[in-house]
């Protein structure tokens, strides 16, 4: 929301420039970012690939100091953004919403892609409803997997707090336990689904990239620290532009993007599979606000947030930059 003081200042500037005969060019030229430092999150997963691929593009946008802060995907990432340990980051939207509901200073800026999560089960699990009474592996309570699965369970009438036994392990351990039949299901995000498929472990129960309604909404969105966004609107737009361009690169040139990700230490083959599996070119097409609304409703059903979707949208989103970039970047 633009302040009255800012509105008057902008209006006076626009009016004066028009009166003095300056053209559009003077006012419209995008200034350099207000800060040359940008801090993003690095997680163990690859689904936020555009954030890694964007490094050189961020330099091109005027950020001379591009830093990555290591965090666990999910609530920990949302908290890191809210705390200012990172300025901006892709993350699963639901943890962002949970922290927004808790009052954290986060602003959602746009969507990146759908389709990160794949639920694998043993032969004992054929549908999400079959999870009742079963043991499910997740990285941690509050991790992206836990929150996503809680949303899915709420959608079919299960209570994530009492209807399943959560087994918290690192993903590699959960995948081993699934293979040995010691847990009943595991929700993975890249590169876990790619590895499970390659090793033919478990069966796919839900693929959020293909199965409705999950496939119709962004799972991963870009969020920024509210103070950073307010104080650095040019930097915010420039950082978002770099991430969106990188997202298109992931979609169009997966081999090249996978090489860049592998340079950061990730497995090339799983990175490539991930980039081919996930629709990274949908940032223009899907509706970011609808995605926020969809997940806010799911989280309400799961008892994980109290705020209405409208309240979350009003206080925790700003899609102006995205809307501007949609016009500036065609594909």
């Amino acid at each position: 929301m633009i302040s009255r003081r800012q509105f008057v200042k902008d209006a006076a500037l626009a009016g004066a420039a028009g009166a003095l005969g300056y053209g559009r060019e003077l006012l419209a030229a995008e200034p350099p970012p207000e800060t040359t430092r940008i801090r993003l999150i690095e997680i163990t997963g690859i689904c936020i690939a555009p954030q890694y691929v964007a490094r050189d593009l961020l330099h091109g946008e005027g950020f001379t100091d591009v830093q990555y802060f290591k965090a666990v995907a999910g609530i920990a990432t949302a908290k890191a953004v809210a705390a200012g340990n990172a300025d901006i980051s892709i993350n699963f939207v639901a943890p962002f919403l949970i922290q927004l509901d808790a009052g954290d200073p986060i602003i959602l800026l746009g969507g990146i892609h759908a389709g990160c999560f794949v639920l694998f089960g043993t032969e004992r699990v054929r549908a999400v409803r079959d999870l009742k009474g079963k043991t499910v592996g997740v990285q941690a309570l509050g991790s992206s997997q836990h929150v996503f699965l809680a949303s899915m369970m709420a959608h079919v009438g299960l209570d994530a707090k009492k209807d399943v036994n959560w087994a918290t392990h690192p993903s590699s351990e959960s995948m081993r336990l699934l293979a040995e039949g010691k847990i009943d299901a595991f929700l993975g995000f890249p590169p876990d689904p790619q590895e499970l498929r390659a090793k033919k472990i478990g069966r796919v129960i839900v693929d959020s990239g293909k199965d409705r309604p999950w496939s119709q909404y962004f799972c991963c969105m870009v969020g920024g620290n509210r103070d950073f966004v307010r104080k650095h609107p040019v930097a915010t737009k420039r950082a978002l532009r770099a991430i969106l361009k990188a997202s298109n690169l992931c979609a169009l040139e997966p081999q090249r993007a996978a090489r860049l990700i592998a340079d950061r230490g990730y497995d090339y083959d799983y990175s490539l599979e991930t980039l081919k599996d996930i629709p990274y070119d949908k940032w223009r097409d899907y509706d970011a606000e609808d995605s926020v609304r969809f997940y806010a409703l799911r989280l309400q059903e799961a008892g994980m947030i109290k705020s209405s979707p409208q309240k979350i949208i009003a206080k925790g989103t700003d899609f102006r930059f995205l809307n501007e970039l949609r016009k500036e970047l065609k594909a």
Partner: protein, 193 residues
């Protein structure tokens, strides 16, 4: 207070609305991103070509390299199709500049052969090379990137930038799967301004 607000809105409408890039939605004009980054590079003919020399024409700047086997030829073929559709406007009123991202391999002679292979009309289309550092600087300032994997193999972002007759960057096309008719419409819209 209401009067003041009304006055400011009217002032904006009178002077400012066209001055802000985001007036594009209301007017249907392309957005105004900013001044197009300048460059002065060497063409396939060995001539110096500077963006400033092209002022007054609508320009499409893109990044390619001649040994790119899969995607650059798709992009260049698409641009060649747009070149043909522009008819008499191509050359006198619209110019293309394809800048190599592999300057150590793409000499003017290599670029000339690449241009000929794609039926580029060199009266309106320059294929540009230069020192690696200068090319990298241009790539960066246009918001693209290029990283050499090995000689003749470059990871890069496909980005085609449309520049208006006053030298302002107006829109960028990502990738090579864009609709050429949409780009044609945008080029013609810039000609009409």
């Amino acid at each position: 207070m209401i009067f003041l607000r009304g006055f400011l809105v009217a002032t904006l409408a009178l002077f400012g609305a066209q001055a802000w890039g985001h007036a594009a939605k209301a007017s249907g004009r392309l957005p105004m991103i900013g001044a197009a980054p300048a460059f002065a590079l060497t063409s396939q003919a060995g001539d110096r070509v500077a963006l400033a020399d092209l002022r007054g024409k609508v320009i499409a700047v893109t990044f390619i390299y001649a040994t790119c086997k899969d995607t650059c030829p798709v992009l260049t073929a698409k641009m060649a199709m747009i070149q043909r559709k522009l008819g008499a406007d191509f050359g006198p009123r619209v110019r293309f500049a394809s800048i190599t991202v592999e300057p150590e391999v793409d000499t003017p002679a290599v670029l000339k052969a690449y241009a000929d292979a794609h039926s580029a009309d060199l009266a309106g289309w320059s294929f540009l090379t230069g020192p690696s550092a200068e090319i990298q600087d241009v790539v960066k300032r246009y918001g693209a990137f290029a990283k050499r994997v090995k000689p003749g193999d470059v990871d890069h972002l496909f980005l085609t930038s449309l520049i208006d007759r006053k030298g302002m960057l107006r829109v960028q096309y990502l990738g090579y799967r864009f609709d050429p008719d949409e780009m044609l419409r945008d080029l013609r819209a810039l000609l009409r301004e």
